[in-house]
């Protein structure tokens, strides 16, 4: 299938390769929670709620008493995808994404300011159209900011893929299920640091990197060109984060 129209350069939904989907965010959507946010990237819609900092409930979980404990739970609502299938709680995928979000947020929260306390982040996917991981991170950031939890910087995240020999920003469901390689990048927007980098189909990405150079020396793939790709994707994501939080706007 042609995911990027060769004649016009538009993607199936009318975006250009370096354009993201329409973004929408709203904070304070769950009154009970200390901080909450609803976040949309096109048809992907997620809700995040943050509780804390509060006293550690289960002391056994506390590893380091000098730092706050960050916990995260990711779930997809049963109604979030087209086919109404019951999603078991705690399946491999959810557990993995929970972990990823937790680690990403932990890196930005100033945990040492909140010893002996815990922060709970709940993220729920209401409507899935690819890029849930990135949307959840963005929603969690907003919810943490809403809860007034001190953070080093704002974490923004976005996915990018590679289809029809074109790098594409923010894949939607059709593009995501096309089977090309994709990366999800999370960066600290102001500090310009990468906190999350996940690659699927790493080998395909290597091959793409190889085809950037003429295939004279196929065996000696230079890691250099991979970094180039990743860098392009990162800069795409950075572009995205500037969009999300324009200059002079601070939640802290």
């Amino acid at each position: 299938m042609e995911y990027v129209n060769l004649l016009t350069g538009f993607r199936v939904d009318g975006r250009r390769p370096n354009e993201m989907r329409q973004l929408k965010g709203e904070v304070g959507v769950v009154a009970r929670a200390d901080g909450s946010a609803l976040f949309e990237m096109g048809n992907t819609r997620v809700i995040a709620a943050v509780y804390g900092p509060r006293e550690v409930q289960n002391k056994g979980q506390q590893v380091n008493s000098k730092e706050a404990l960050v916990r995260c739970e990711y779930r997809m609502a049963d109604f979030s995808t087209g086919d109404r299938r019951r999603k078991p709680k705690g399946d491999r995928r959810s557990t993995e994404i929970s972990l990823v979000i937790r680690q990403t947020m932990e890196a930005s929260i100033l945990t040492h300011l909140m010893p002996r306390s815990q922060i709970d982040i709940f993220v729920q996917v209401l409507q899935a159209d690819a890029g849930t991981r990135a949307a959840c991170i963005n929603a969690a950031t907003l919810a943490l900011a809403d809860a007034g939890i001190p953070m080093r910087d704002i974490v923004t995240s976005c996915s990018a893929g590679y289809l029809c020999s074109t790098p594409l920003l923010d894949l939607n469901y059709i593009e995501d299920s096309a089977g090309g390689p994709d990366v999800t990048v999370g960066i600290l927007a102001k500090m310009d640091k990468v906190t999350l980098l996940q690659v699927t189909k790493y080998h395909e990405l290597l091959l793409i990197a190889a085809s950037f150079r003429t295939p004279l020396v196929l065996s000696s793939i230079h890691t250099n060109s991979i970094t180039t790709i990743l860098h392009t994707m990162c800069s795409l994501v950075k572009h995205f984060s500037c969009h999300l939080y324009p200059e002079g706007h601070c939640f802290l």
Binding site: N5, L7, D13, G14, R15, R21, Q22, N43, D129, I174
Partner: protein
Amino acid sequence: MLQSKTFVKKTKAGRVQKVVREHYLRDDISCGAASCSTCGAVEHPLSADAGAILVVDTNVVLHQIDLLENPAIDDVVLLSVVLDEVKNKNLAVFNRIKALCSNKARRFFVFTNEHHRDTYVKEMVGESPNDRNDRAIRVATRWYQSHLGENVKVLLITNDRDNKRKAIEEGINAETVESYVRSLAQPGLLDLVVVSTSGDVTMEDVEDLRPSKKKVIYSEHKPMSEITAGLRCGIYHQGKLRVNRYNPFEAYVGSESIGDEIVIHGRSNMNRAFDGDIVAVELLPQDQWHESKSFIADDDEDEEEDVHLAPNSADDAPRKANPTQSTVASSADSVSSRPVGRVVGIIKRNWNSYCGSLEPMPMPAGSGGVAHALFVSKDRRIPKVRIQTRQLSNLLDKRIIVAVDSWDVLSRYPSGHYVRTIGDIGDKDTETEVVLIENDINTRPFSTQVLACLPPLPWTLSPEDLANPNRQDLRHVRVFSVDPPGCRDIDDALHCTPLPNGNFEVGVHIADVTNFVHPGTPLDEEAAQRGTSVYLVGQRIDMLPKPLTEDVCSLRADVERLAFSVIWEMTPHADIISTRYTKSVIKSCAAMSYVEAQARMDDSRLVDPLTVDLRNLNKLAKIMRHRRCERGALTLASAEVKFEIDSETHDPLDIGIYQIREANQMIEEFMLAANISVAEKILKHFPLCSLLRRHPSPTKEMLEPLLRTASSVGLNLDVSSSKALAESLDNAKNDDPYFNKLIRILATRCMTQAVYFCSGDLTFSEYYHYGLAASLYTHFTSPIRRYADVIVHRLLAAALDIAKLPPLFQDGPQLTGVADNLNYRHRNAQMASRASVELHTLIYFRTRPTDTEARIVKIKANGFIVFVPKFGIEGPIYLTPKGDKGGDWVVDEVHQRVTKPGTNISYAVLQTVMIHMEVVEPQPHRPKLQLTLI
């Protein structure tokens, strides 16, 4: 602005799912017109001084693509809605229009109307998708008009009457294709317009010239729903229709549901299906299965035999049974075992453009007007095509390309339209181009991506190659090559060194093409697609780019080259003691021609090392050859001809049978041995994914004509095995010196051709190569000009652990696909070379009427077919004037003889006759070679 597209679709599992997709509307899409200042785009495909900007609708693109490809049509806006519809309906047309849009020389612009804020149209309640798309086209046209202002005329081109009416009501300029083209005042262009037969266009101006023939000739195709239902419950069978190359009234449909080929006799049973169409077939009742030939007579096209090149195998020869044969072959029992059917519907059309010429016809009165002409394709499988033209006088003596548009039940022939002219009939370049187009041979120059894969030139041996532990340095060995004179792509070389123990070390060195052609690169893909180099008379179409073919890979004399070597230790009795395979570096000391090598061996005064090597090799080859023949390999004969070409005009100067010398046989013997050794090696390592070559044993039916001819001259051939046949061929001798060769030539043409296959697809017993009497065979020795050899090189390298096996080999179906493509390309290449030789024969005899000796090879009711040994051609000689079937000649089937009763004049098969050969033009611009008895 965001719009949501919501629709319901059924998943593969059968569940119904609601799909929601985003659909972005933009305000930054440029209109592409140079005269527009508001859009601010960088590129302006549509010119500023355009007379009119055309917006075309889907059906115009689908049906009038040939017209759009004409440079006279320009400044066309293609809406994305149109492109999407075209893509869904016809991918071939879509690819052509895509090529047009990306061609910088043409002013075609794609306007993404579906994502433009002002031209997006939402489906209204109760509106069909078609109507919605038509409305979208009108909305976009109106937007263009208002966007560009009154200075530019925007014209909607549609053949849909309803759409045109609505457009005019909405104040849009709209015209039909025909009226627009007419307004351009270029009569030649009108020929490209497809006259629609459906009710869309007003039919008043399309007069029907043949009202009397308005009767239904073909039965109506069944509707698609009925076909699908029929296929499911097993009444109908689906398959690809293949028309017999030599008898266009007979076709086969390979059906998976039956597991056998269904035979279809006659045009009415074929029911307007073309070669290559996917059709639905209904079986006829079993009692009708035998009435095979009667349909041929139904059609009034005369089956005229032409003089042609003598066939080399059964595949080249007409499969048509001659009418006299069926009477002898005691009814048609043999035929009735095969199911016979008729086409009830066409699932997928394979309509294409075809090369050919117009049937000669008188100029109609009032020339300059529209004439209806019949187009005859060069490919006999294609029926005649009716076309309309306004330039009949121009086209009559030209080779033209015609595309087929439709085939009505009322019409005996399909209708089509003129696409382009290739050149004058009979002109060498034109006819050569026709040959190439017909055989689907890619003559385009290699693309820049392909050329980018070449090693830096000039290429020299690098120290890395020498340092490679897998590559043996054989530069000190006395290696030489023997090839046809003037050969530039030398892919094989040999060496033969006596060993101290009295044995010989014999090496076959093959150009190491895979060192330069890596799997998965554009170069590799291009070569895989081309499959083989094509050799025409005085012309070669390469599989690999010229620098590789003629320089880097070619094992030329006195330069260091990379090779892939097979090295044997052989006893003086040619017994192989050991075999080893290695990549190597060689330096050939001499590139000889066959003549040169032969002369060296024959000149007893020469005792230099090279000549001694040659003589040793020849000695070994003779023993190997003898042994092979004892195993039952057939020594077959063919009548290959050779032309001497004028270096300036490229016209043939002389023609003669290609002479085979001992030196040829010597080289051939070692190549066979190398191929067999490699086949054994790769099969041992990769029993499931080796590419091998097999030659199926001929069936009884195929050998039937040979046996009949032989028995008529009192010769008994034993065809029970290839060994028995080889022996009886050896014993077939009488006082006539040419007799044996003639019988061999006749035997050769009963065989089918050898084919490539993937070892996983067949069982071991099917691997057998009948002609060579070898249980295993493959192609290893010509990687420069055959892609099969490239694959085998990779397999061998992987077997030796030098390289990894490319992923292709893990995919059985894909490998089978590659093998099929190779067979197809190989076959086409052969057909093209034969056609090229035929063409040059005709050119040669045009100025040189000749008297020569010929042999009768087949007796027919009204004459016989002769074979001319000197020129390798075959053709009919008529004893009675055409149309007078049989006349006063009596055919004796048993003795294969025609006699004129009352006289003692008779002609028998294999008899020698003197004939006169001359090129005549029975119809203007249709030269043909005629043979007459003298």
